[in-house]
Structures are given as structure tokens and as C-alpha cells.
């Protein structure tokens, strides 16, 4: 495990998060059709595996209530939702015209229970967002969600309703900025499109690019208007392995977290980026895939984990089961416990399987180029004078009270980032040795010492923030070059190949200096 953590010390808060997990027992019985690679059955397999590993014991498990038509219409067009609601395999011939219009039919077939399937998985994702908003949990999981291709007015790539967009919309009610990260092998086009022109949602997608569905996701697509630089695309080529993947994921996400400071993070964990996927062409191991979860979790920002693609279903179940354990901060054994679906996992019957020996077409040079380019975009975002993270909640009317609340919120975020020290989160050594009986970490049960520490650090952060403001004012002109980065200049992980320096680390290091400067 590397030390590029922004993680909490694994001793106290580091390994524990309060996790909510949404599961509907019906979901496994939805069936896209004969030979269709999307199999909701994989969620049932995941659930069985989780249960037999004893992981459910440590979570709140909730059955989602279905989203209603009006909920879906918060993003989707009325006529499209109306269509989804009434179309059935029997009635689809009469609706031929609409099928075409809404791109339903080929990739996105009409199957029995289509609408209730959409309601179910969307209910889970919005439910997860609501839970996070209320602070009921630190991490919410809905493996049946993550259908990132669905557009406002049309279905696409097995996706009908974009539960991610709806969940983010819910998160935006309490968070000024939400970060969306997509590690599905396909570009997260539906979510990117929905938030392409806003800076309140930043989207970062890692995907195979070039002659591949859906065709969007060029590195040069970076958002538009107010949203410029708030959409990042990381185009990758066939056969990328864990190491190459993380050599981009970590430095980029560190920088994003540092610069954007989201109030909540949504991570789409499409498992088709795993080695041996039926539709995919990457070569990630389950551990490499889960490393993304581990890394995003380490920032200790409210996290919504969603499913997505994944068409070799035994690997999907492996992956999401393991990622659930990562979310919980417990280690699970490689030898799978006996479970209803154990034969699906043969002949290895293990959680982890070795990736293939396929060629990694991502050259070092190419990866370096991509990283440099994206960090360059991020530096522009950081120095853009129009971006005011700390002071002005954009375009919303606040009472003073709310503003205070908002600032508090900001401080909290800062704390989170700063408090996360660079201590290596060594999950293996920290694996719980005994089944903590029914232990549900209550949100209010925070360690007093931690709170103290947070207060202390928060003061430092405050000074940092002030300094940022000042520097911003003084560097409004000519900062496009980005060489005169005000505060985080030195923490600029950009391009530095090691990228191991945790930005949060720098914040704490720099703060005293900044204070001195001010004096």
C-alpha cells in the first residue's frame, strides 16, 4: 500500500465509517433479455457474498422506496418519463415512434418491470444522497445504481434513468459543490452532460477512449461556460493495469480534492474496467479497482458509492463485495465463504483473481502527458479569478444565518481535508479480529480528542483561507500561467511524477508560514 494517503490515522477514525447500504431483494429478478450482458442478478450475487462475509452486520441495510414519476422528472423530461412508465414489451410495437425518439429498443430494451426497475435503483441512489445530507452516515452504497449513460431525454447504453444525476441534485441541496468520479470503462457522458455548464458539480471520468462507446470523453472536453474546467476526462487505452491507473487516479484526484473541495463525492464504480470483462478491455484487478474507493474514502468527505457497468458478473460481485469491505474499513479473506452462488466463482473460489497478461497500450509517455494536461487544467481552475470557493455561495439567496451555516460547512470540509494526515492507512494490519457485535457507529459518537484536534487545525486552515483570498486578489492579472499559485503552489502535485505528497499535508505545513507572512 502506498503512502499517498489523505487518510485518517487508521488508529482512531481511520478505519471506521458509518455505512448505509441500499438493497432491494427484487432487483436480481429484472432481466434485460436473452443474451443481454446487463444482468441485475449480479446485485443479488453481491448481496449474498456480503452477507456470508458478515459485512452486512456492520452496516445499516435499507430497502429503498421506489422513486416516483415526479422524482424522476427533476432531471428527466416529462414525456420521456411518461413513456418509460407506460411502455411494456407488449405495448412497444404501438410506441415504435417513441422508442426511436427515446433511444429505447436496441441497447436499452423494453423488458418486464422496466419502470419499477428504474424506480428501485433510483430510489436507492437518491436515498443514499438523503442519508448523507442528513449526516446519517459517512458512506452510502447502492450497487444497483450508477447508470451513468442515461440522458435527460433519452436512454443510452443500458441506462434509462440517470440515478446519479438525481442523487447529485439531492446532494446539491446541502452541498455547494459535489464531485463526481467515474471509474467505469465507459465515459460517464450522461452525468457530464447534465452538469456540463455548472461549477457546482465537477465531473471526472476515467475511461477507454477511441473507437469505443459512447464516443465522448475527449481530454479536451472540459466543460463549458461557468462549467469550464469543471469536467475532466481521462482517456485511456486498452490493457491498463493497476499501477498505470493509479499513477493517474491518485495525483489527479488529490489535486481535484485540494482545489475543488467538494462537500460530497459520488463515485461510480462500474466494474467493467476490471480485467476480463465481457465488454471491457482494461486489465485492472479487484484490488486496483477498489484502490480508487479506498483513496476517495480517505478524504473523509461524505461519499456515495454507486454501481454501474460490469458484465462478467462473477467479477462484478467480487469487486463490489470487496469495495464494500473497503468502505467499512475491514479486510476480508480471499477464500470465499460458502455461499449460494459459490459455483459462479469457480474454479478459484477466491475473491481476488489475477489479471490477464494482456498488453498495456498505455505508454508511460502517454500517461505522463495526460496527467500533465489534466493538472494543467486544474491549475487554471485553481487560479481562475471568477472561482470563489470560500466567500460567495453562487447565486443563492441566504439569510445571514445560512451564510454562517455555509461557512461552517466550508470549515468542516477544510477540517476534513486537513485532519486527514498522511499516516498510511494500513487496512491489512488493521483488520478487525473479532466480529464487533452489531456495532453500528453512531454519528454523534465522535472521539473527543479528534474534535479537539479538528478545532486546532481549523484555525490554521482559516488563516490559509484568508491568505488564499488575498493572494487571489493580488494575482488576478496574468495568473493564467499558473506559476504564481498563491497558497498551494508548493503542494502542486502537478506533473511531479512521484505525486506522493498529499496536498492536505501541505496545507498543514504551509499554514504556519502563511501566518507568519501575514504577521
Amino acid at each position: 500500500m502506498d503512502t499517498s494517503g489523505n487518510s485518517l490515522p487508521s488508529g482512531s477514525d481511520g478505519s471506521k465509517r458509518k455505512v448505509c447500504y441500499f438493497y432491494d431483494s427484487e432487483v436480481g429478478n429484472y432481466y434485460y433479455g436473452q443474451g443481454h450482458p446487463m444482468k441485475p442478478h449480479r446485485m443479488r450475487m453481491t448481496h449474498a457474498l456480503l452477507t456470508q462475509y458478515g459485512l452486512l452486520d456492520h452496516m445499516h441495510v435499507l430497502k429503498p422506496n421506489p422513486a416516483r414519476e415526479k422524482d424522476l422528472c427533476r432531471f428527466h423530461a416529462d414525456d420521456y418519463v411518461y413513456f418509460l412508465r407506460r411502455v411494456t414489451p407488449d405495448s412497444q410495437q404501438e410506441l415504435l415512434k417513441h422508442l426511436k425518439r427515446f433511444n429505447v429498443g436496441e441497447d436499452c430494451p423494453v423488458f418486464d418491470g422496466l419502470y419499477s426497475f428504474c424506480q428501485t435503483y433510483t430510489g436507492g441512489s437518491i436515498g443514499g444522497a438523503v442519508k448523507l445530507n442528513h449526516g446519517h452516515c459517512d458512506i452510502a452504497i447502492n450497487w444497483s445504481g450508477g447508470l451513468h449513460h442515461a440522458k435527460k431525454c433519452e436512454a443510452s447504453g443500458f441506462c434509462y434513468v440517470n440515478d446519479i444525476v438525481l442523487a447529485i441534485l439531492e446532494l446539491l441541496k446541502t452541498h455547494e459543490r459535489v464531485l463526481y468520479v467515474d471509474i467505469d470503462i465507459h465515459h460517464g457522458d450522461g452525468v457530464e452532460e447534465a452538469f456540463y455548464i455548472t461549477d457546482r458539480v465537477m465531473t471526472v471520468s476515467f475511461h477507454k477512449f477511441g473507437d469505443y462507446f459512447p464516443g465522448t470523453g475527449d481530454i479536451r472536453d472540459i466543460g463549458y461556460g461557468k462549467g469550464k474546467y469543471y469536467a475532466l476526462n481521462v482517456p485511456l487505452d486498452d490493457g491498463i493495469d493497476d499501477e498505470s491507473y493509479q499513477s493517474l487516479f491518485k495525483p489527479i484526484m488529490s489535486k481535484v480534492m485540494e482545489v475543488y473541495r467538494p462537500g460530497a463525492v459520488v463515485l461510480q464504480c462500474g466494474a467493467d474496467s476490471l480485467s476480463g470483462d465481457r465488454l471491457g478491455c482494461f486489465n485492472l484487478s479487484v484490488k486496483g479497482h477498489a484502490e480508487c474507493v479506498r483513496f476517495m474514502r480517505s478524504f473523509n468527505v461524505p461519499l456515495l458509492l454507486l454501481g454501474g457497468g460490469g458484465y462478467t458478473i462473477r467479477n462484478v460481485a467480487r469487486c463490489w463485495c470487496y469495495e464494500t469491505s473497503v468502505a467499512l474499513g475491514v479486510e476480508i479473506e480471499d477464500k470465499m465463504p460458502q455461499n449460494e452462488y459459490i459455483d459462479y466463482f469457480g474454479p478459484e473460489y477466491t475473491l481476488h483473481v489475477a489479471p490477464s497478461n494482456m498488453e498495456n497500450k498505455n505508454s508511460r509517455e502517454m500517461l505522463d502527458g495526460i496527467r500533465a494536461k489534466l493538472l494543467d487544467y486544474l491549475s487554471k481552475l485553481q487560479h481562475a479569478p471568477s472561482v470563489q470557493f470560500q466567500d460567495n455561495p453562487p447565486e443563492t439567496q441566504f439569510s445571514e444565518e445560512n451564510e454562517d451555516e455555509d461557512n461552517k460547512d466550508e470549515d468542516n470540509k477544510d477540517e476534513r481535508i486537513v485532519v486527514d494526515s498522511d499516516v498510511n492507512l494500513d487496512y491489512e494490519s488493521n483488520a478487525a479480529t473479532g466480529k464487533a457485535k452489531m456495532e453500528i457507529v453512531e454519528p454523534e459518537a465522535k472521539d473527543q480528542n479528534d474534535v479537539m484536534a479538528i478545532d486546532e487545525l481549523a484555525r490554521e486552515v482559516e488563516s490559509t483561507v484568508i491568505d488564499t483570498k488575498n493572494s487571489k486578489d493580488s494575482t488576478v492579472a496574468g495568473e493564467a500561467d499558473g506559476d504564481d499559485a498563491p497558497v498551494y503552489q508548493d503542494s502542486n502535485v502537478a506533473g511531479e511524477a512521484d505525486g506522493d505528497d498529499a496536498p492536505a499535508h501541505h496545507v498543514t505545513e504551509k499554514s504556519p508560514i502563511d501566518e507568519m507572512d501575514q504577521l
Binding site: 431483494s25 444522497a129 442528513h134 459455483d343
Partner: protein
């Protein structure tokens, strides 16, 4: 008002007036043979320059031109003969007479007309305009910048002198030409009206043409020419551009063509460059033709990417030049993309773009902060942990540590056999049932795994297998239709459940234990027909389908 004027006098005869004050004063009363030769020299000089200037943009014009059976045409003679007639105001020139003037058979008149059109017509109009302008504006003829103009002016003055003295020899069909400077008394018509009154819109639209003309002209007169260029001339000016297009079409990768610079830098380039001319021309043409209709549609629906509006070019207009870029850029990889800035035109060939407009983006909610409320239904139904009452019951049970895996060994007679595995699954299930309490049923653990088969009879199971396997060979068959037909009472859900929980699982189990079978995995279609037949028909996978993946040829 000076210029080339046409005067209608009382007698009804048409007279041509050339008013060239400076030159007129200088005019020599005698036009001897030597002067004529000198004029001829000047003419040839002019012609040479002119043809040289225009040779690259027009058709091939060998000198001297040859007509009939290899007879060479004296262009000077031809020019004089035609000028004479033009200046007499003849609407139609008798080309047979011109032919005779030039010493050819009158039958060759038509051929001469062609030669004139090809070689001299444009020169003639140029000469006149140059002179006309210079006189209009009283522009000093400057040697440095106006070489060609001065040449033309000189030629024209000489020509006029020659013509005026040569009138004795004019044929009967030619009216008398005289020079007069008292045009004020007569009704005057401007000959250049049709040129000057070019529709201003059209003129804008043909900016390209003007730019091109100015290339061949001298700087100071540029503006003037823009107004005066005849339509015919304009067509000629497209030639270079068209030739370039032709060249590109023939071989887009020709190194001669070079690489187009980035779109956002285009405006910095001079309009002399051929590709730039094409872009300008296309802009002009499409603006005129499409602007009104297309733009209004865009405004309504905003189907296009907004960066279209960043500048005035539309994506459509760039199609051909894009092809050039792509043809050259066939090797364009990520690294190259990295080095270019985002711009809509750069890679629109195959690349799809995110669309912007009210039909695509989400409407963001207000930040509520502490006022946040939510419908309680979103919190879902808590299944786990159990309610306190039940918890007390289940907590008595001894639990495995979290994350515990399989035991290394078991006491079964044949460890790893189907029976052994079934036994341990069952064992584990009973344990889980006790641990989970009501959650066991809430999560439908009773409907997971081979247990599902308990509600099926042996006959039903055999039938199910038979139907699915019969589908194996005829991949166009949709076995679910058959299943629904044979198990009308089971219902779709039960059949799907059996399929995943029992059928596929058992198949995989057999494969796991029998190395000769090979792993077919959980991919039904690997055994039961390709993906494209999944809805019981052979369908083409549309270009936008997620199934289209070059790496996964077996799916296509």
C-alpha cells in the same frame, strides 16, 4: 467628371469620349510606324505581365496563340482591331471583319473571338479601369507601388493616340471616334454602372474575390478594384482556390498542402493563403444561403455545441477542411490531442461532443443548508440492524468473525464434490437464517441459489434444460418464448430466477469440476447464440451501440 463615357449626341450617332487630360496634352499629332512599334512593345510587355500574373489561376495560355491550321495570332493586331470597334461603341463586334483586319480568313472570326476572350478581354477591362481610376482619383502614379498600373496607363494612352490617328483606316462599319473634352454639353451615361452598382451584399459575400484580385494588383488601388471588378473576373479569381481544392481532393496527404493551423488561430492568417480563401468563400456562401434558416433553428433547439457560436463558422462549413486535417492526422493519438487546445472544430470527425442546452442539462436546486428537509420515504425501510426485540434473540448466536472465508478442509468424504458443496452451503444458510432473523426473508435468501429448484419437479427441470439447450444450435430462436409457452403457470419472474439461481449455476458448477468441459462462465450467449440475436432476431448493431467495440469482435 472624367472617365470612360458614352455620349449620345443629337444626330443619334454614338460617340466615344476619352478624356485623359494629362495624356491628351502630351498626345503626339503623328503616329508613325516607330511609335506603333513602341506601342506594340508596351502592349506585349503589359500582356506578358498580365498573363504571368494570372497564369497560375487560370487555364493554360500558350504564346503565341494558334488558330486554324497553325496560324499564329498577333495579339497586338487583334487588340487594336477589337479596340477600334469597341470604341466606336459597337454593341456587337463583327468578328469576321476583325479576322480580316488581322489578316485571317473571315471564317476564323469565331476562333479569334475565343482567343480575344481568353487572352485579351480581361486585360482590356483592366487597362480601362486602371486608367479610369487613376484619372478619377487623380492618383499620382508612383513607380514603386504601381508598376503595373503605370504600365497600363502608359499603354492605354499610347493606344488612344494610336487609335485616334488610325481612324483614317477604320472600316466602314466603324463610326468615327473623336476625342472631346467638352462632354458637359452632352448627355452622359456611365459605362461602368453595372460594375459599380454591384449589390453591396454580394460584394461582402465575395470578399474572397476582392482579396484575391488585390493580390494581383497594386496596393493603393485595392479598394477601388473591389468595386470595379467584373463578375467575369471574379470567376477567374476562384480558379486558384478551386485548383487547390482539386489538389487536396486528389491527395489530401500531399505534403505540399501542409497542415492547417489550429482553428482558433485562423483569423491571424492572411487571406492570401489558399485554405484561408476557401474558408472565407465558404463562409460567405453559406452565410448567404443558410444563415437565416439554420440559425433560427439553432436558436430554438440549441442542438449544437455552443462553441459553434464562438466564431462565425459553423461545423458544416468546415467539413472538407476537416477531412484534410484528419487525413493528415490519421496517426493522431492521445499525445497529439494533449498538445492541442480544446476547440470544437479540431476533432469533430468521429468524436461525439457533449451537447449544451435546456434539453440536456439538469436544473440545479437551491442550496438549502440547514433548512434542508427531505421526504422521509427516501430513508427507505430499515432491514438491518433488526429491531431491538428481535436483536436480543439473534445476538445469542455465535458469529463468525467479519470477513471470514472458507475453512481449509472439511470432513466430507469427497471434499469439493457437488454434494459436499451443497452440504456446506446449506449449513451456512441455516446459520445465516438464525443470524438474520426476519432479514433472511426480507432479502429473499430463500430465493437464492439451488434452493429455488425445490419448488420445481424433476420433469420441469428436465424440460427447462431441454428447451434452453435446443436453442443452442438455432441461435435465432428465442428460448424465453418457448419457456413461457411451456411454463405458463410459473410466470416470468420464477423462470428468470430459476435460470440464474439454478440453471446457470449448475452448469458452471459442472464446468468447474470437469476440466474437459472448459469454463463457459456465466455468459449465457457464449453458448446460446450471439448477442445480436438476443431479441430473437438478427439485428444490426447500430453505430452508436455500446456493443460496438472493436476489441470484442465476437460480439459483432
Amino acid at each position: 467628371m472624367a472617365g470612360w463615357l458614352k455620349r449620345v449626341d443629337g444626330s443619334g450617332g454614338v460617340q466615344e469620349s476619352f478624356i485623359t487630360p494629362q495624356k491628351f496634352e502630351k498626345a503626339e499629332p503623328f503616329f508613325d510606324l516607330e511609335s506603333k512599334r513602341k506601342l506594340e512593345c508596351e502592349f506585349n510587355e503589359c500582356l506578358e505581365v498580365f498573363l504571368k500574373q494570372t497564369s497560375d489561376i487560370s487555364c493554360f495560355r500558350p504564346l503565341p496563340p494558334v488558330i486554324g491550321e497553325g496560324q499564329e495570332v498577333d495579339l497586338f493586331k487583334l487588340y487594336i482591331a477589337v479596340r477600334k470597334r469597341i470604341e466606336c461603341g459597337k454593341d456587337e463586334i463583327s468578328w469576321s471583319l476583325v479576322a480580316r483586319d488581322c489578316g485571317f480568313d473571315s471564317k476564323l472570326g469565331a476562333a479569334l473571338k475565343l482567343v480575344y476572350d481568353k487572352y485579351l478581354d480581361e486585360l482590356n477591362s483592366w487597362v480601362r479601369k486602371v486608367v479610369c481610376n487613376i484619372e478619377d482619383e487623380n492618383i499620382e502614379v508612383r513607380d514603386t507601388s504601381v508598376d503595373f498600373s503605370s504600365l497600363l496607363v502608359k499603354l492605354e494612352s499610347g493606344m488612344k493616340e494610336f487609335l485616334s490617328l488610325d481612324q483614317v483606316n477604320i472600316e466602314k462599319d466603324v463610326d468615327i471616334v473623336k476625342f472631346s473634352d467638352d462632354d458637359g454639353k452632352n448627355e452622359i451615361m456611365e459605362l461602368s454602372v453595372d460594375v459599380k452598382s454591384v449589390d453591396p451584399k454580394l460584394r461582402d459575400g465575395n470578399r474572397i474575390v476582392n482579396a484575391n484580385v488585390s493580390k494581383n494588383q497594386c496596393g493603393d488601388d485595392r479598394v477601388k478594384y473591389e468595386d470595379l471588378v467584373s463578375r467575369k473576373r471574379k470567376r477567374g479569381c476562384y480558379m486558384g482556390m478551386l485548383n487547390w481544392v482539386r489538389k487536396v481532393a486528389k491527395d489530401p496527404c500531399d505534403p505540399v498542402i501542409g497542415i492547417l493551423p489550429q482553428r482558433n488561430t485562423w483569423k491571424h492568417y492572411e487571406s492570401e493563403l489558399e485554405w484561408k480563401q476557401i474558408l472565407l468563400a465558404r463562409e460567405a456562401m453559406l452565410l448567404r444561403m443558410n444563415a437565416t434558416s439554420q440559425q433560427s433553428i439553432w436558436q430554438k433547439k440549441q442542438l449544437m455545441h455552443p462553441s459553434l457560436y464562438d466564431d462565425q463558422y459553423s461545423s458544416e462549413k468546415l467539413r472538407s477542411s476537416q477531412r484534410v486535417v484528419f487525413a493528415k492526422d490519421s496517426s493522431c493519438n492521445t499525445l497529439e490531442r494533449l498538445n492541442s487546445e480544446s476547440s470544437f472544430s479540431d476533432y469533430q470527425g468521429d468524436a461525439k461532443r457533449i451537447r449544451v442546452g435546456p434539453l440536456f442539462q439538469a436544473d440545479l436546486p437551491q442550496l438549502l443548508g440547514s433548512n434542508y428537509e427531505s421526504d422521509s420515504k427516501w430513508l427507505g425501510t430499515r432491514i438491518w440492524p433488526l429491531e431491538k426485540v428481535e436483536q436480543n434473540k439473534t445476538s445469542l448466536i455465535e458469529r463468525d468473525p467479519i470477513g471470514k472465508g472458507r475453512q481449509e478442509s472439511c470432513g466430507c468424504q469427497f471434499p469439493g464434490s457437488v454434494e459436499c458443496v451443497r452440504f456446506h452451503i446449506k449449513e451456512k444458510k441455516i446459520k445465516v437464517k438464525l443470524e438474520l432473523g426476519s432479514a433472511f426473508y426480507n432479502w429473499k435468501f430463500d430465493g437464492m441459489g439451488e434452493e429455488v429448484a425445490l419448488t420445481w419437479t424433476k420433469e420441469e427441470e428436465k424440460k427447462f434444460e431441454k428447451i434452453v439447450k435446443s436453442n443452442r444450435l438455432s441461435s435465432e430462436k428465442y428460448f424465453w418464448e418457448e419457456l413461457f409457452k411451456f411454463f405458463p403457470r410459473k410466470g416470468r419472474e420464477a423462470l428468470v430466477s430459476y435460470y440464474f439461481n439454478v440453471f446457470l449455476l449448475q452448469r458452471r458448477g459442472k464446468q468447474n469440476r470437469d476440466s474437459t468441459l472448459g469454463i463457459e462462465s456465466d455468459d449465457e450467449e457464449s453458448e446460446y447464440g450471439p448477442v445480436s440475436n438476443r431479441f430473437g432476431r438478427i439485428s444490426d448493431i447500430s453505430p452508436g451501440s455500446i456493443f460496438r467495440s472493436p476489441k470484442k469482435s465476437r460480439l459483432n
